[in-house]
Amino acid sequence: MIDKLVQIAEKAKSLGRKTRIAVAAAEDTNTLGAISRAIKEGFIQAILIGNQAKIMALLLQTDIAPEAYEIIDIPDEAAAAKEAVRMVRSGEADVLMKGLVGTDKFLKAVLDKEKGLLPPKAVMSYTCALELPKHHKLLFISDTAVLTNPDLDQKIAMINYSVAMARRFGITKPKVALITATEKISSALPVTLEYALLCKMAERGQIKNCEIDGPLDIFLACDPNSLEIKGVQSSLNGDADILIFPNLESANSFYKGLMLFGGGELAGLICGTTKPVVVMSRSESENSKYYCLALACVMVEDK
């Protein structure tokens, strides 16, 4: 079972294959730093799409010879994104990665109905695995980046994606906590009503492969002592693997607070697409970027 992010990279290496990464507008040092590290570790092959001259100049700063990369010269960033998506869609690459292209242009190419990577009616969401120095295992959290105010169906998708990721990490029946400010159900806090529904859906086998409880606050989800003090019964026993947040603001603030003040590291991925899609923020640490890439390689469906 994977309980440290570094193990994701080890798992990626152990797969014994070189995952093909198509990078859209591979023109920034952040992206190329993570890519070159993964090449050195031997688990990826990179196809860099963008302004060839700029890419070549940046590659000279890395300690890997430019011949190790395949470079496709498409200077326009939107066109580069489209080409990267096309390659992944056609099977010429396994993973899509965003470089120095605006997120809106990048996602437009991903979401394109005819030529994109999202199946009809599928929900696109974001799940990340968070490693915290003071916690004994990884926490999977969603949605920190894509869905602003997920409705019930979107929450079900978030749960399913997070469960699939946790299972890929060797957690066969992950414990899912539905997070809000309280464990009480009240129509004054409508998300608590949705959470009650989700619990019952899992109990009835309508959401599979996991144990769900909520509403819970972070204490009750992740700390058995808090359960005892408050006298709350929870099927998760204060040991959640997955935290589902009611909205983007709460999930985003939770992870950023922990990154900044708690020394956290993460590996995150866009979920719902036919192939893994890596979108990293420039403010993320070198390590986190590398882990994101390794995670994408691990999540590629076995052929």
């Binding site: 464990e183 159900i185 009503l193 529904l197 619990c199 009835r204 309508q206």
Partner: protein, 299 residues
Amino acid sequence: MQITKLSQMFDILATRPKKRLIAAWAVDPHTILATHSAAEMGIIEAILVGDEGLIKKTCQEHHLDCSKLRIIHNPNDLSAAAQAVKMINDGEGDFLMKGLLSTDRYMRAILNKESGLMNGGILTHITVAEPLNYHKLLIFGDVAIIPLPDLNQKIAITNNLIKTAHFLGIDNPKVGLLAASEQTLPKIPSCAEAAIIAKMAQRGQIKGGIVEGPLGMDLIIDKDSAIIKGMNSVVCGDADCILFPNIEAGNTFYKTLVKLLKSELGAIVMGAKVPCVLTSRGDSELSKLYSIALAAMMA
């Protein structure tokens, strides 16, 4: 002692101090006969508010002994209802019963903001039935007052079902929340709200009973169906109480029990300061007595 037959209420009431029933505009044979029988059995004290002449005439026609009844003369139906309610508020009676008054007038007297019997509660109708081929009593609601209960009203009804069970000596009643399916289908309100209420009970926000739902009627009352469908809740096949999602479902169940299955039952209105009896003229003599006894148990 846990009651498994409605008639056991009579035995229990006989051992307790008699509760005082106040009947509003009790001038019709139905009300007079039922209250007279209950008084004669010694399970309650009957106080009839209404036209004294009319009441005595009815007693004579049915060869009833007027001395079993205390009559408070009031010649007008609305004023009699108001007086009956006032007597409850003044502590001169323990529970209320409807006479020949229309149901809406009776309810209006109870609900009157200044002079009524409300105390911030939600009025709900609770029935206790003795179905012939079920192994225990069934307590259910709401079949008569709230047409389409919202979540808060359903919670109030659930609490009243549990409270009624406690009064009947059923310590930790099993409550089935009825819906069309045991699947949690978010777009079907009965399924969604049942899931919410069940979770609230799990969190201790509804106390005193084991609450499970959504469940179809088959799973609530039939263990075999539960086994076939792989449901292992202790509520399945052994429910003491049923929450109905709407009045049509509840009322149809009630009338099917009475008319097709010849079950006896008792029913009361809860949520006011005291239990209120609201029998229908179509009820059997025995069911009217059971309703009076049930109110007396809970007064």
